[in-house]
């Protein structure tokens, strides 16, 4: 090994310093950013997937492939879904942050001024893949621009324990709320309540409370945007919920986020819960770890069902995810290239298969994919994106609807009522809060 002398080190350091000084002066003179800041890097922020295999697939295989194919660098960052909105706000206000950020539902409308129009990519993907669902279009596009590129819909269905429901006398899943309450009452008496979050959490809380409200005929606003929350129908739904909660639910649900019901179901403390398919997929992945009390693999005892019917019909509200390309991004072109790349059928299919049906794509062509026929338990999720109703129904899913959703007004109305507030006061409170938004 060559001997390093003190003098040569000094010389080297001096040289480097001089070069950097010269570089600095040169950069200041041209008024341009140094070259390293212009490297084509895309910072992608998304939620931590409830199907961990998919994030692993992205990190280990797909992103390195994309980097090679596009000649860019991609930094994937994953955070809890509840932390995405604060990150968007921070990014927009400081003018720096991730280039692509995942948005839930109609949050895109809240950030319309700060995102890049993705119509071109969205329309191309829609055309190529059998047409985009109306629901995805309504949630991501205000008719003038696509504020987010629709990514996938996380279908929300009730995952339930077949054998426990049979023991309680239900050979098939209850069709109406009354029937569900009756079965739930028997289940809770046996220490196997229904688990449902009424907390401030993005997926399972509004995924239950919105369609529940609609199924009773209650609505936040009419089609013209006039607040009509304080109605007989809403009141009925709240009154029923008060009894339903006490009779049939795990009362800890008031403090749950989107992960608590997964843990509770897997540890066999609840018999049913509205969820994406993540519980079932987890039991499939670890059949030896998750077993029923009789020792059978738990996945053989799980089925899925849509939410029951109410007097006004049967509804569903499924979490739609899209990606917003931020206006402040200095890497808009590479980010667009990446979106195009990952949405090509060949690439998207890899990711889609890894989800095992947890995510439903936003275009119709995928309905015919073998993922849905491979496992009949997953079949109900196939049409989640087709049948979903957007928040703000019967009005448009605009920024006001998004604000109401972000403030968890509908969810809080039920939470307050089951905590002891009178149904009338809870409805009045929600109506008042909505009126502050819809002015």
């Amino acid at each position: 090994m060559a001997k390093t002398k003190r003098r040569s080190v000094l010389k080297l350091a001096g040289g480097a310093a001089a070069a950097s000084m010269g570089g600095m002066a040169a950069i200041l003179a041209t008024g341009r950013m140094p070259a390293f800041a212009q490297q084509r890097t895309v910072h992608w922020l998304k939620w931590v997937d409830f199907v961990p295999a998919s994030d692993t697939l992205l990190r280990r295989e797909m992103l390195p492939e994309a980097e090679k194919a596009l000649g860019i660098k991609i930094n994937l960052e994953t955070v809890n879904g509840n932390d995405l909105q604060p990150r968007v706000t921070a990014g927009i206000q400081s003018g720096a942050g991730p280039d692509l950020i995942m948005a839930f539902n109609n949050q895109t409308y809240l950030y319309a001024n700060s995102v890049v129009d993705l119509t071109e990519i969205a329309e191309a993907v829609g055309k190529e893949q059998g047409g985009m669902y109306k629901y995805a279009r309504a949630v991501c596009s205000d008719g003038k621009m696509f504020m987010g590129m629709p990514w996938a819909v996380i279908g929300g269905m009730i995952a339930y324990r077949k054998s426990w429901f049979e023991e309680a006398g239900a050979t098939k899943f209850p069709e109406t709320w009354e029937q569900y309450r009756e079965v739930g009452k028997k289940l809770k008496a046996k220490g196997r309540p229904i688990g449902q979050t009424l907390g401030h959490t993005f997926g399972d809380a509004p995924g239950f409370t919105y369609p529940y409200l609609w199924s009773w005929g209650g609505m936040e606003v009419d089609p013209s945007g006039k607040v009509i929350m304080n109605s007989k129908e809403t009141l009925e739904s709240v009154k029923f919920m008060q009894g339903f909660w006490k009779d049939a639910h795990d009362e800890g649900g008031l403090a749950w986020d989107d992960t608590n019901n997964n843990r509770a179901f897997l540890s066999q403390t609840i018999s049913a819960t509205l969820n994406g398919a993540s519980i079932y997929i987890e039991t499939l992945r670890k059949p030896d770890q998750y077993k029923t009390e009789k020792g059978a693999p738990m996945h053989t005892d799980i089925l899925h069902s849509p939410l029951p019917k109410g007097p006004a019909g049967q509804f569903g509200f499924h979490l739609l995810q899209s990606h917003m390309l931020m206006k402040y991004s200095k890497n808009q072109d590479p980010a667009k290239e990446f979106l195009k790349w990952i949405h090509t059928e060949k690439n998207f299919e890899k990711w889609f298969i890894s989800q095992k049906g947890f995510a439903t794509p936003c275009t119709e062509k995928w309905e015919g994919h073998k993922v849905w026929t491979d496992d009949p338990v997953m079949a109900p999720f196939k049409v989640a994106a087709k049948l979903g109703q957007a928040p703000g129904h019967a009005g448009p899913p605009n920024a006001k609807a998004a604000e109401a959703l972000s403030k968890y007004i509908v969810t809080d109305m039920y939470a307050k009522a089951v905590q002891g507030m009178s149904a009338e006061d809870a409805v009045k409170w929600a109506d008042g809060e909505l009126r502050k938004i819809y002015v």
Binding site: Q85, T89, A90, Y111, L198, G252, L254, W256, A415, K416
Partner: protein
């Protein structure tokens, strides 16, 4: 800078500008400038920005326009804000009383001589040293609706038959976060008060004892008055910190269930950063200012009175 020093060292007369520093007023100005700049940049500027924000209709990505006091009017009529104000006072009041009482008790115990004193004193500080978010996560698991170890223990001991809904019940949730805040805050009180105790000369106690004062009388007439200035400063710090607390509530309950445990900071965050209603968020966090200002001024005046007595 180096060049100037060299020049003076070579024996030239200092320049007129430098000679001006011989005047104390100029020197004071120069020495104070860095602090003033720092304060201006990191305290005054954000504060003024916050005030301007609260008077506008700004949302995320939209600078909005001047709307006067509309945001304050809006939060004044907001039932969640009312709960927030009540919660903050309740949270600060209850925790401060307990932290002071327990901290003082602990300080008195630690002030005695016993084996392993140094180690015990170091351990006492642990709750205060561990990052709040980390320790709060541990507490969150202890209060978990399904897996609470506290419930498990009580159940195994036969004290309860059904689960206690720690974080799902508004009152219990508030109690839970109060307990954690006390757990976290006691060491700060204990160590600071201990430092105060050690400045009290043992001779005073001896003299009182010789005069026949019982332990309680010695505490009440010797220790307590001498400890008063330190106590007041500790309470002041604690009140300010607790009033503006964020991390603990954010991690534990996120302000829930149904907004029942919001404090000023968490509600401002939820509206401003979560929903993107920056102006309303700013109005809520500014609403904390007058309350805090009154508390701080009252306490500072009291401290001055005690000190000059």
């Amino acid at each position: 800078m180096a060049a100037t020093t060299l020049a003076t060292a070579e024996g030239k007369r200092p320049s007129a500008r430098l000679r001006r520093l011989e005047d104390e007023r100029w020197l004071a100005l120069v020495l104070l400038t860095p602090t003033a700049v720092l304060l201006g940049l990191f305290i005054a500027y954000p504060f003024v920005e916050g005030v301007l924000l609260s008077l506008s209709s700004a949302r995320v990505g939209d600078p909005g326009q001047f709307v006067g006091l509309k945001n304050f009017y809006k939060i004044w009529n907001d039932s969640i804000f009312h709960t927030t104000v009540w919660n903050t006072f309740w949270y600060t009041g209850v925790t401060t009383v307990f932290k002071l009482a327990l901290g003082l008790w602990l300080a008195l115990l630690l002030n005695r001589h016993f084996r392993g004193k140094a180690i015990i004193r170091a351990f006492i500080l642990l709750p205060f040293i561990i990052p709040t978010v980390l320790s709060t996560f541990a507490w969150k698991w202890m209060f978990d609706p399904t897996f609470s170890v506290i419930n498990w223990t009580l159940f195994q001991l036969g004290l309860i038959t059904t689960r206690i809904n720690w974080l799902g019940d508004p009152d219990l949730a508030m109690t839970s976060i109060i307990v954690i805040n006390i757990w976290r805050g006691v060491p700060f009180f204990a160590i600071t008060l201990l430092a105060g105790l050690q400045t009290i000369s043992p001779e005073l106690h001896e003299a009182a004892a010789i005069d026949g004062a019982r332990p309680w009388a010695r505490f009440w007439h010797v220790t307590w008055p001498l400890l008063m200035p330190v106590t007041l400063v500790v309470v002041l710090f604690s009140v300010i910190q607790t009033f503006a607390d964020f991390q603990l509530v954010y991690v534990m309950t996120g302000g829930g269930p149904a907004n029942a445990t919001h404090l000023f900071a968490t509600y401002a965050y939820q509206l401003g950063i979560g929903t993107g209603l920056l102006s309303e968020g700013a109005a809520i966090s500014l609403a904390m200012f007058p309350f805090l200002f009154i508390i701080v001024v009252a306490q500072l005046l009291y401290i001055r009175r005690v000190e000059t007595r």
